[in-house]
Assembly symmetry: D2
Homo-oligomer: 181 residues x 4
């Protein structure tokens, strides 16, 4: 089955966005790259740091409220509709809810060719990269590194602590099934 | 009919994004703000400045190719699906194709409560704001100021050369029909 | 005396940076634009939200600590040295300390041709623009609008609530004394 | 002699900025991080892509004109003055002119305690990271990887292809001489 959606799941600062951009560069067709960051940017500023939206606790843990969940569900439905309408889509996600998060996407993407990719990165390495980026809330990388992968099932996994983003993208691209596939 | 989608159409540097953020602040429910910039950011870097993607001519005119049109059509379908799935959405658009652009959105948004808003800004003022922003290609503001409104039909129009973004947002919010509307 | 430094003082969201970029566009010689934002970006992330660095209270008031003051003093000395070494410099500042802030700059810029410009913007208008920008801490614009001008002496003042940034820049440029001045 | 300035020299996408931010996090005192990017951002937009300013050729080579050199000389003098006024400064640089670039800094920093650090990164790795970042002109990383180090003399060198930014920062921090040093 032709791959229409690539879902990259990994913790904060694990290197998903870099892999997404490299995938856009190495794949022969044009792919849209959309993700959690796109959704959060689209939300009202007031939903960050509110009980209904997203909360960041002092140790970097992320808690999302009911209003966030409602908009997220609509977002997922919309991204699935884009793929059904013919766009190839790379989804850059953080499965804070583990298998529940995956299930929400799986249900929405039913009937589409999906490649599930785990983007691993050792917690200590990701925490160091969080410091190097300087634009993320300290502690998110460490708290998410293992959490987001628990109980999630992948077609393949890459490890950005052991290979460069472009290398990871090439491995993933090798598993993307083409139109004649 | 309840307003589910607000479409803001205006040229580059006319102040649409500022109005969108103000709308998110003044409207009682949470609204997603999505737009042309979101779509362009999601596209491969190579599609900017390519015959298939987006081209910026020396005088700021924007030309989009067939690959861009394909992804855009899927994007529009997806945004419509988000609204159908229950998200309220502010769409921040540049109708380079005038009535043809509007028709593409109108067809996709069929059955939804849509408020069509023209965001006007005198070409000379917009060109000055383009200089003040410093991050846009010179000439886009002037070349789009009139062009994007020709033949487009609105429920209401605002003029950011005559009123502040927040004021414009309040006028628009006054026309948003609520759930009991 | 030839103008070597233009100091723009105004509250958050008063439009100083836009005027600085317009000045760079309309002045015939190349000018460097440096400001409080440049300094804050250069500081360690940890100095934001710490007692020694910068603190933002819930209502947008900004408090700076001793470590901030030390680095700021060195920064001011360095910017003055750039002007003495031949660079024309636009300084984009927020005089939280009013006349004390101005005195720190005046002492450092001794012997240089300085044009002192007040960038006024009605507090309510600035607060609205803060919402439209969406990337500033709410309340800064209102709390600084009057405060930063108290007791400060200017060569000229502009009001971004009454004129566009480019227009303000043209007025300021008209007061910049050239090399043969 | 106490270290007052740390100069990081490396090609585009070699990871200098990440190391600078990690240094700010691991060093006990507050350090300012300033660099080529700060200077370029401070310049008029028109100086990019002009004969007098900065030009990027199709293969990512960077050419700077006389106006750039003039402002750069004043910038270097100013950064040196900041260090003399008591600020500890991390300078994040690209020595396009190799030993000539280093000599310009060495002359300006005379009398100050300077730690010269070479930030190496294999050209192919840096080129891959350039793709992953997605915001740099393609080709800069490869064309600068070796060039900027030719004839430059360092106190120590780090290699971001072999160690994480935080690790590199710790090695550099171990060579920073303290006040009692």
């Amino acid at each position: 089955m032709t791959t229409q959606v690539i879902v990259l799941n990994g913790g904060s600062s694990s290197g998903k966005s870099g892999i997404a951009r490299c995938l856009q560069a190495v794949l022969p067709d044009p792919w849209l790259a959309l993700g959690t960051d796109t959704l959060v940017d689209a939300m009202p500023a007031s939903m960050q740091a509110s009980d209904d939206g997203i909360e960041f606790s002092a140790d970097g843990e992320v808690v999302v409220g009911p209003e966030f969940r409602t908009l997220e569900a609509a977002w997922i439905a919309g991204v699935a509709a884009m793929a059904r309408a013919g766009a190839r889509v790379i989804v850059d996600e953080v499965f804070l809810g583990g298998p529940d998060s995956q299930e929400r996407w799986r249900a929405a993407l039913g009937g589409l060719g999906v490649l599930w990719v785990g983007v691993r990165c050792d917690g200590e390495i990701a925490a160091g990269r969080e410091v190097a980026r300087g634009d993320r809330i300290a502690g998110m990388a460490a708290s998410q590194a293992e959490l987001v992968h628990r109980g999630v099932v992948y077609d393949l996994e890459v490890d950005t602590g052991r290979a460069e983003a472009l290398e990871c993208a090439r491995v993933i691209a090798g598993r993307v099934a083409g139109r004649a596939g």
